[in-house]
Subunit: 136 residues, 2 copies
Amino acid sequence: MVLKAARKPALGGQECDMSGWDGGNCPVRDVIDRIAGKWSTLLLEALSRRPYRFGELRRLVPDISQRMLTQTLRDLQRDGYVEREVFPTKPPSVEYRMTDLGRSLFEPLSKVLQWAEKNHPSVKAARAKYDESELA
Amino acid sequence: MVLKAARKPALGGQECDMSGWDGGNCPVRDVIDRIAGKWSTLLLEALSRRPYRFGELRRLVPDISQRMLTQTLRDLQRDGYVEREVFPTKPPSVEYRMTDLGRSLFEPLSKVLQWAEKNHPSVKAARAKYDESELA
DNA sequence: CAGCATCCCGAGGGATACTG
DNA sequence: CAGTATCCCTCGGGATGCTG
């Protein structure tokens, strides 16, 4: 199997300093790199509201492939942010719910997302200004 | 030139819903994707302390290549988080300093980094538990 | 010193088809 | 319904060498 491999750092990743944040092997990026994935924040945001089933999440985030949905959910589960519960119905249904750890992460994380939403215009303006002055 | 292209979304990226966060083209990920780069947070953290020169940043983050240092700084500058000032000395020196926008971003962002540092043990524990139960 | 240019690789991730 | 299994390709990013 290939998909199963809930991505581990592959190798390396020993460095990182964070200039006084901590003393070794950068725990910060070890955590950040996971939630920095393309879909992680979207799913965390959704699951912060209420539990969802697999298919519901697909419909909520229409642009995600089921491959990435499965993989991202497994990664989030592996890091302890999300719990998976299987209901032995026929056909089976699976529910994903956020854990306490997930909530405690999402609290500061949501602040960043709100910042992004609010300040998007400023960022776009900065980009436009930069690009303009660059094509001189 | 190839490096110059301060990365624009390439194309696509039209989707995103954020389930009620906003109405289109996902401004959230447009912002997040940038600061989710491998080195962005490290550099923002450094520059949140004080301005630095290029070489100083290299020494602060020894594992970054100058290619990535240049590119990440340009991206951060383009999005308005960082200012670049060139001193016409010989040889030239360049100083990077965080802008007000950068600081306002780093405020919530630093909370997430602190969370990551603090809760790294919990995450590692969750991973160990998951991996153990998986190789059954 | 502070970059730019080139070559190159691997992981992240998309599309599609199949299954219990 | 909730996944697995493959194929495939883009692009983030490392290594190296050259310049004003």
